[in-house]
């Protein structure tokens, strides 16, 4: 794993280098956005950790250039800021960063983020057949037998679990649509990830497929279709919900 860390503060660079080296990652350092772009043109990196405010060229400008350059656009860029408040975060995401991390570095959550984003990028390179919305038409809106296969034919248990699913899922759908409106695609992918397994367990197969598709697209930085995918996901949930409510006369 090869990281490019971009920051104008030497102390921050030292800390980042130490942390990534400690888990066997290679680290290359740059002190502004222009240097980072030059390094990205010269060799391949798995992930870029990019400070926002820097002299010469700041992280937002550098990210816009990376996204606009077909040779560089595939790079995974994590913004790195002390002001993780809404505004900074929104600016980073709008500039095309995949995610935003907060200073000071919290090693565990940063590793988790790097691993998550880089495996998504790797998978994107492995397969381009990830997004096939047409296929989901053949899937069940709600397969009433799915729960029977795992917890047996126990109507009372089914009803209890399905009610719990609907109430949890409604909260996740709200969080997901809100994050989609703000362009916070990492939060969208996290909500879709949680909803995905629950949807599969209760037999909402079309919803599961929608969750999976949007999670993969968000993590791979393929943002263009995500708003439409979020709308589709909401529709799949609402149809599954109607069927469940009808079946249990809820």
């Amino acid at each position: 794993m090869r990281m490019l860390v971009v920051d104008d503060n030497d102390f921050n660079l030292d800390v980042a280098e130490g942390i990534f080296n400690s888990v066997g990652m290679q680290v290359v350092l740059a002190s502004n956005g222009a240097q980072a772009i030059e390094l990205l043109r010269q060799s391949q990196f798995d992930c870029v950790l990019m400070d926002v405010q820097m002299p010469v060229m700041d992280g937002l400008q550098a990210t816009r250039i990376i996204r606009a350059d077909s040779q560089l656009a595939h790079n995974c860029v994590i913004g790195f800021t002390a002001n993780a408040g809404g505004e900074d975060r929104t600016k980073c995401l709008a500039a095309g960063m995949n995610a935003v991390a907060t200073k000071p570095i919290e090693p565990e959550s940063l590793f988790a983020l790097v691993v998550k984003l880089t495996t998504a990028a790797l998978r994107k390179n492995l397969t381009t057949a990830a997004l096939q919305p047409a296929l989901s038409e053949e899937l069940a809106v709600w397969d009433a037998d799915a729960l029977t296969r795992i917890v047996g034919a126990q109507p009372a248990t089914h009803e209890r679990l399905l009610k719990k699913f609907l109430s949890t899922a409604n909260g996740q759908i709200t969080a997901l649509t809100e994050a989609a409106t703000f362009g916070d695609w990492l939060v969208v992918s996290e909500q879709a990830h949680k909803l995905k397994s629950a949807a599969k367990a209760v037999g909402a197969m079309r919803l599961e497929a929608s969750c999976k598709a949007i999670e993969e697209a968000c993590l791979a930085g393929n943002i263009a279709p995500c708003l439409a995918m979020a709308a589709r996901l909401v529709q799949d949930f609402s149809q599954a919900q109607d069927k469940i409510l009808l079946a249990f006369k809820l």
């Binding site: 795992i150 949890t168 990830h193 397994s197 367990a201």
Partner: protein, 148 residues
């Protein structure tokens, strides 16, 4: 399978998943299979704490990969370091690549991995993991089926 079900009733299972709904579904599922002794934790750190306080180690640990506080991979390494010899079953919403990476970490740490699958687990996957010989080396197949 009658004998198998009888044997399963004596087994203890420790579930680690941050999603309360999945915890609930899997507990019902284990009860349906006849497992009465089910404990759960929401993350790796909480699980390690609870495991250290148990009078005897569970027969099977069922573990998610992505969790807050301490994720599955860090937990597996710590679990191996504690000398846990029971079975380990990975159940995750992560994609096949991440499931395989986690499985490799489990095996290389010396854990007795019984499988690495997409959530939710099927009853067959759970039964197989529960009934695998406890002394089995970690040679159980861990590649996920093509359709989780």
């Amino acid at each position: 399978m009658k004998n198998a079900v009888l044997t399963i009733a004596d087994k203890s299972v420790f579930l680690i998943d941050d999603d309360p709904f999945i915890q609930d579904v899997m507990t019902e599922q284990l009860n349906f299979l006849g497992v009465k002794n089910v404990l759960h934790a929401s993350n790796g750190r909480q699980a390690l704490q609870m495991l250290s306080e148990l009078p005897s180690a569970p027969d099977l640990v069922v573990c998610d990969v992505y969790m807050p506080v301490m994720d599955g991979m860090e937990f597996l390494t710590a679990l191996a370091a504690q000398g846990y010899t029971g079975g380990v079953l990975l159940a995750s919403g992560a994609d096949a690549l991440m499931r395989e990476i986690s499985a490799t970490i489990a095996v290389e740490s010396g854990l007795n991995l019984r499988g690495s699958y997409a959530k939710p687990l099927t009853n067959q996957q759970i039964e197989d993991a529960l009934l695998a010989p406890s002394s089995a080396p970690s040679s159980a197949p861990f590649s996920a089926p093509s359709k989780g």
